[in-house]
Amino acid sequence: MFQLLDPAGRLRNGAKPPLDDEFVLEGLRWMLLSRAIDARATALQRQGRLGVFSPVLGQEAAVVGSALALDPSRDWLVPQYRELPAMLMHGYPLHKHLLNLMGNPVEGRIPDDVLMLPTQVALAAQLPHAVGIAWGLKLQGKDGVVMTYFGEGASSEGDFHEACNLAGVVKAPVVFFLQNNNWAISTPRQLQSGAASLADRAAGYGMPGVQVDGNDLLAVNQVSREAVARARAGEGPSLIEAITYRMSFHNTTDNPSKYQDPAELEAARARDPIARVQAYLKGRGMWDEKREQEFEQAISEEIDAAVAKAQKAPVPNRSQIFDNVFAELTPRQAAQRRELLGEG
C-alpha cells in the first residue's frame, strides 16, 4: 500500500515534501469543510429539515486528495454519493447540494458549466456512464479526463466489471477511484471479494491498479495525479483502491452498533485523515491553534450562508412532476398533468 505520511503525520523514510504547503493547506480546508458539513447536515436531518444522507466522515483524504488532481474546466466528475467535497471542488454550489437533500432537485440542478453527473444511488450504474464520457472525449479529440467514484461494495456489481473491461479495450481516459471504506452498509470488505487486493483486479482489464492509504492526503493526491496524467497522455484507464474507513453510520437511517466492533472504530479514529494532515502542517510551521480557529470560523460562515440561501429557494410544486420527462409531453401525459393541477 502506497503511503507518504505515517499516521502521526511524518513523511516516510525522509521523503521530500511532494506538494507545495499552500496546496496542502487548501486540501485541509476542503477536508475540514466536509467534516463540518457532515455535522451540520446530521443535525438538520435529526430536526427533520433534510432527507436521508451519507456522511463522508473518515474518508476526507481519499475524496479531496483525488479531486485535487482534476482540472474542473475540462475534466469530468462522476460520483456515487459519498464524495461531497469533490463535487464542491468541481464547482457545484453547496446550497444546491443542500436543496437536493431537502427534496428540491429542481433548485439543486447542476449548473451547465459544471462537468459533473448527479449522484448515483443505483450502485455501480455510474461506471459505464463514466467510461462512455471518457470514450466520447477521446473520440472528439478533447483532452479531458473522467474521475469516477464507487465503493468496494459497488465493485461487486457486474456494471463495475463491464465498465473496466470496456475502458481497457478502448483505452478510455478514465480513473476508477474505488473507496474501500470496509463497509457496504453492514457487510464487511472480506465478504465482498476473496481477492486480497481489489486493486489487483486491474490486471484483468489491462490497466494499472494501485492500492493507496486512503487516509493519507499526499499519497492519494500523488497516485491520482499519476493516473490523471496517464489518461490525459492517451495511455488509458487506471484503477485506484483507496484503503480508508467509514467512521460514521452508512446513512442517517443506519445504526452501526448492530454490526460494528467498537474497537475497530476506535482503531480507525487513531488513523483520522484530518489529524494526519494537521500534524504534518504543524511540523512545517503552517498550522497552529490560531489558524485552526480562523479556518473553523470561515467554514462555519460558509455553511450558514449556504443553509440560508437554500432556505430562500422556491419550494417544489407539484407541476414539476411533469417537467423534464420528455422534451415534449405525450398527449396522455399532458392530460394527466392537467388532471393533477385540477385543470380538466
Binding site: S186, K258, L340
Partner: protein, 325 residues
C-alpha cells in the same frame, strides 16, 4: 393469538420454515449480521448459522442466478433483494432464467425459489428504491407474483411461497411494514395463491388493489361510507395466478369498478384487470371501469411523492364520477 406487524410476521414464517426444512437457505444483502435493512431477518443468522443466512457480495444478478443453481442442487433458497427497484440489476436472471427454467428444461429442473423484495413509495426513500415495477414481471408468465398487504397474509403467503414447487416473486409493502399489529396465528398455516381477499363488502362499487394500495382503498371506502356509498375492497393477493372469479362476481353485483395501483398508469396491471372485466362482466357494468394510478412519469422527488401516488381522495373522486355517470 399473538399480534404481529408485517416485519414480524415475515420473520416468523422464515423461522418456522427454516426450522421445519433444513434445505431452506436465506441469502441477500445485509440479511445476516444486520438482520436486513428492515430487520425482517433479524436474529436468523444467530439461530441458524452463517451457512443458512448468508450476507452475499453486493450484486443482485448473482443473488438470483446462484439461487437458481442452489435450487437445482437440492436447496430451497429464499433470496432477498433489498428494494424491488434493484431487481432490475437481476432482471434477466429473474424473468428469463428463473421464470423459465422448468419450461426450458422440459420439466427436468423445477425451481422452488422465493425472491423477497419490499416495494412502494410514501416513505421518502431515495431514487429507484420505491419503483413499483410488479407488472414488468407479469410478462414472464412462469413466475408467480404474490403481494401481501397485511400481517396474516404475509406469514401465510410466505410459507406458501417457500413451499411452492415453482418460483415466486414475493413483494412486500414497505410503507405498511410497521403500520400496525394484527392477530397472526403462532402455528403453521398457508394462504393459497390465486384466491383474492374481500377486505370489505359493499353494494355500490368494487375497488380492486394489491400491496399497499389496498390500504388506500380501505381509507377511500371509509370516506365513501360517510357519504352513504358502500364499497367492496378486493385485495388480489396474487397477480399470478389471478383470481378472476372473485373480481368478476363482485363487479357483476356492484356494476362499477375502480382499479388502484402504485405503478404508473400505462401498461400497469390495472389494464389487465380492466380487460378481464370487459371480457367477463361487460353486460353487468353500469359505468366504464376506471383506474387510479400514479402518473406516467419517473418516480418524482420525495417532496412531491404524495401528489403522484394514488390517494384515497383521488379514489373517492373517481368513484363519485362513476356514480354520477
Amino acid at each position: 393469538m399473538p399480534e404481529m406487524n408485517i416485519i414480524e410476521a415475515i420473520r416468523d414464517a422464515l423461522t418456522l420454515e427454516m426450522t421445519r426444512d433444513e434445505r431452506v437457505i436465506v441469502l441477500g444483502l445485509d440479511v445476516g449480521r444486520l438482520g436486513g435493512v428492515f430487520r425482517t431477518t433479524d436474529g436468523l443468522q444467530e439461530r441458524f448459522g452463517k451457512d443458512r443466512v448468508v450476507d452475499t457480495p453486493l450484486a443482485e444478478a448473482v443473488i438470483i442466478g446462484s439461487a437458481i443453481g442452489l435450487a437445482i442442487s437440492g436447496m430451497v433458497p429464499v433470496a432477498e433483494i433489498q428494494f424491488l427497484g434493484f431487481t432490475h440489476q437481476a432482471f434477466h436472471q429473474m424473468g428469463a432464467q428463473l421464470g423459465r427454467f422448468r419450461y426450458r428444461s422440459r420439466g427436468r429442473f423445477p425451481l422452488p425459489v422465493t425472491v423477497r423484495a419490499p416495494m412502494g413509495g410514501g416513505t421518502k426513500t431515495p431514487e429507484f428504491h420505491p419503483d413499483a415495477i410488479e407488472a414488468q414481471f407479469v410478462q414472464y408468465p412462469a413466475l408467480k407474483i404474490a403481494l401481501p398487504s397485511n400481517p396474516y397474509d404475509a406469514k401465510g403467503m410466505l410459507l406458501q411461497a417457500i413451499r411452492d414447487p415453482d418460483p415466486v416473486l414475493f413483494i412486500e409493502p414497505e410503507r405498511l411494514y410497521r403500520k400496525g399489529r394484527a392477530e397472526v396465528p403462532a402455528e403453521d398455516y398457508t394462504v393459497p395463491f390465486g384466491k383474492a381477499r374481500i377486505a370489505r363488502e359493499g353494494k355500490d362499487v368494487t375497488l380492486v388493489a394489491w400491496s399497499a394500495a389496498v390500504e388506500v382503498c380501505e381509507r377511500a371506502a371509509e370516506q365513501l361510507a360517510t357519504e352513504g356509498v358502500q364499497a367492496t375492497v378486493i385485495d388480489l393477493r396474487t397477480l399470478v395466478p389471478l383470481d378472476e372469479e372473485t373480481i368478476v362476481k363482485s363487479v357483476e353485483s356492484t356494476g362499477r369498478c375502480v382499479v388502484v395501483h402504485e405503478a404508473p398508469l400505462s401498461a400497469g396491471f390495472g389494464a389487465e384487470i380492466v380487460a378481464t372485466l370487459q371480457e367477463n362482466a361487460f353486460y353487468s357494468l353500469d359505468a366504464p371501469i376506471a383506474r387510479v394510478a400514479s402518473y406516467d412519469t419517473p418516480y418524482p422527488p420525495a417532496s412531491l411523492e404524495s401528489h403522484w401516488l394514488p390517494s384515497p381522495e383521488r379514489v373517492v373522486r373517481q368513484v363519485r364520477k362513476l356514480l354520477s355517470a
